[in-house]
Symmetry: C3
Subunit: 356 residues, 3 copies
């Protein structure tokens, strides 16, 4: 007879460059999950609201928004890669591929690109990984790199300090429906905001999105729906035993939640006429979020470019920033703005000339 208490997840010393993890679970994106997240994040692009509109635009069905594709794939990697993480440092070159529809099943795989022990603290280090998400037909739906600071289990354990020489290349580019001049796109154009075509954006403009959304302790259930297994989001007893160890001494909200919410809050101004997200070149969580905080966002237009071989689309590059407010300290006047999230994002946006 034995008492067995399994350690879940891996620690810094467990990783080797070149190692490949085929993650557990996989996930069929059902209509319950689709509803919870599409609605939670306040997306307004009708591609993710209205099946008839999505079909008119050439998709097979209503479209799972990029933020939810990201969450479903990312969450599958948590147990293997970051259940014992101290901090998620950066999303890098997150590219989107085939469209995802309700009913699709997503599985994920991660390759270790680099392991680097901290030169300052011998209990941690940085992991650099590459993750690919595929759906049931094998097509790639998302690919990205990520840097994450991971704890060591045994501070004395040796840690490999290495970088993978031949980074695997992953083919992942947006699969967008073709523009067909015979289709009457204009018939449903009124369903999206009319001032969000490619022609409407000017480099340098900053949009202060007008809506905010409080996140309640609903975040616990949302995070569980994603199969994110990290205990810092749901185990109140663990926090209560040692609040000083945890940021804010409270359950911290999974970063994927404000990530998605910022995408949604910015949608009516930026992405209502987007046909799909192309790439998030970099993204970082720069401040923690807790139940009761209200999330706001701004978007700065950083570049506009032609979309190769698609006269009907343009590439819109932006910086999406999320913020909240905290109570004033002594001497401060009024609530103080706190940045929580920043994302460099490129979208494929319809041109009014073709779609309206």
């Amino acid at each position: 007879m034995a008492i067995i208490r399994k350690k879940t997840g891996h620690f810094l010393e467990d990783f080797r460059v070149g190692q490949v993890f085929r993650h557990k679970g996989g996930k069929t994106v059902n209509e319950g999950l689709f509803n919870s997240f599409t609605e939670f994040n306040m997306t307004t692009n009708p591609l993710s609201k209205n099946r008839e509109y999505a079909r008119l635009c050439g998709f097979d069905d209503i479209v799972v928004p990029p933020g939810l594709v990201m969450l479903v794939v990312f969450s599958q990697t948590v147990e293997d890669i970051s259940e014992n993480a101290r901090a998620n440092l950066e999303y890098i070159d997150m590219r989107f591929g085939a469209p995802v529809y309700p009913g699709d099943t997503l599985e994920a795989e991660t390759t270790i690109l680099g392991v680097k022990p901290s030169s300052k603290d011998n209990d941690r280090g940085v992991l650099h990984v590459s993750t690919v998400g595929r759906k049931q037909d094998g097509s790639v739906v998302i690919a990205y790199e990520r840097k994450v600071q991971v704890w060591k289990d045994d501070v004395e354990a040796p840690v490999e300090s290495a970088t993978l020489e031949d980074k695997p290349t992953v083919d992942c580019a947006p699969v967008l429906p073709p523009y067909e001049s015979r289709r009457d796109y204009a018939a449903k154009a009124h369903l999206a905001n009319s001032d969000t075509y490619f022609e409407d954006f000017t480099v340098g403009d900053v949009y202060e999105h007008s809506r905010g959304r409080m996140v309640t302790d609903e975040h616990i259930a949302l995070t569980a729906q994603l199969d994110n297994t990290s205990q810092v989001h749901c185990n109140q007893h663990m926090i209560d035993q040692n609040p000083a160890k945890y940021i804010g001494g409270r359950l911290i909200i999974f970063g994927g939640i404000p990530f998605n919410l910022c995408l949604g809050i910015s949608c009516p101004d930026i992405a209502d006429n987007s046909l799909g997200d192309v790439v998030y070149t970099t993204g970082r969580h720069v401040g923690p979020l807790f139940a009761g905080d209200t999330v706001f966002a701004t978007t700065e237009i950083t570049a506009t470019e032609d979309y190769a071989d698609r006269d009907d689309l343009g590439l819109l590059s932006v910086t999406l920033r999320g913020h909240k407010f905290r109570k004033p300290k002594d001497g401060e006047e009024g609530p103080q703005k706190v940045d929580i999230f920043v994302l460099e994002r490129t979208l494929a946006v319809k041109r009014r000339s073709h779609w309206a």
Copy 2:
């Protein structure tokens, strides 16, 4: 470079009688939304619980209950019509048409019937509108009028004071499955409350529905799931900056939530054997609801009539009233009942003679 902060919604001076708004988004009623609301509102009519029962009764699938059809259509109108409203005054002549099933997509359109600036306060006025909701095959699922008090953006702006001369007529009557004597309806009659056939109701009787249901801050997510964009339901930071401006100084619960909950709470006594709601002649929110309040309801039977050309059905007219309790003030004994909602409602109810 510019800072852009879009105003969302319209103000009183923006409206003209005869103007038609084809609202944004549209919405595919998926199983996630269906589950959230059908269950939240405690509906007990098996038409919305049990696909086999719904099919035996002649429907194509499990039925989206009238309260959810109303919420999905109504919410689509919020941004254009009432995002800048002070108060929702009245629902008028809300009629139901074709049945709605999970998977159907609903879109909405509103015509401005009247604009009337307040004679007392120069910052507001009353808007009178007519809304129609259709599903993907073009059939009308709901049509109603509504009066709402809307803010002006610029108190000096001129406001049209007018009433539309030729109100558009909207064809909208319940599409109910025919009664077919060869079907064995009795085989599943036990699934609904047996004392809720048309023969069971007596004019003047008042049902005090025995169940109550507390609404928590779940209302934020429920409202988001409906795409209702009003900030007073979800932007806690906005409220905190100026609590005196907002009723109760708190996030107020979207009226559609208690509207639905009252329908659900009354269902086991009133609507378990209803084949569909026919019309809500008038409805008003008469008190605010906040997270933590427990909702109760009563129903008074006001009329019973034959249903034209349907021996198997009767028309049941009722007054549905919702209430909550508030803490006693000095000198009051015990919690005080506060009315929150009243609805004049007519249902098509099965006759025991045919269906049991």
Copy 3:
């Protein structure tokens, strides 16, 4: 004109042995309900996560986990059997049958096996019942007995004290997909924890499952989604009027919630390679759960046996225990462990020899 306030549910004096209740409602398990519960309970078995995996294992679709089958059927019985219960005493011989998939409709029927008034308290007694749940094709999906302590409505009313002589036999055994050696099960074996095959379990071992999960007031919505009509889970006003009457003076969490959560928390260690639950020989709620409590679980391996005619499976019997912690009282050091749930459980578990 009359004021009508219907009593819901039955009281001890209303029951007779041999009586059969065909319960109201029935329920189509849609993807919204499936998502809410599969995710809430933290199940990790890919049969309930990943449609492709479930199909490879021989099922027709993604599998509704046993805990949710139990909840859907059990909840249908609440109004007739236990809406006026004081305490749920015991689940007995709960056996699982045909697999349930999203879209299936479950209906339930209960036979009264015994009625026994309390010899000590004349206001209550014990009811012993047998419940069967079937899906739309008539196949049995679950069958179980249950003992529940029920209030009398009128303490003076005579109560039958009897036991049914000929207990009805219910045919209910797991319908599991056959093992087919030509299938490449190994191709997706990495989706489940690799140390949870039948060969991995040793009688006497105790697993302390590492994850915990706080339950918030989300329990109200979860319970409503199951159509559990008991007011002690959702009517805060009722509790506030007479807190002393209710355990803890608060809304108590429906026992089915921790039941499911304990199954889920134990899943990665115990049931990741289970093909189905066979029987819960006995189960009891031994402590109340309230919003804010964090649930933990342990599993003790009690027996391992061959599975008749199935070389590829083994029968794993375990004791699943759930616990929480309460604040220390004077003189106690640190939070005190409180047991909340115990279940004797037998699962059909894949053998590595065949499936990996």
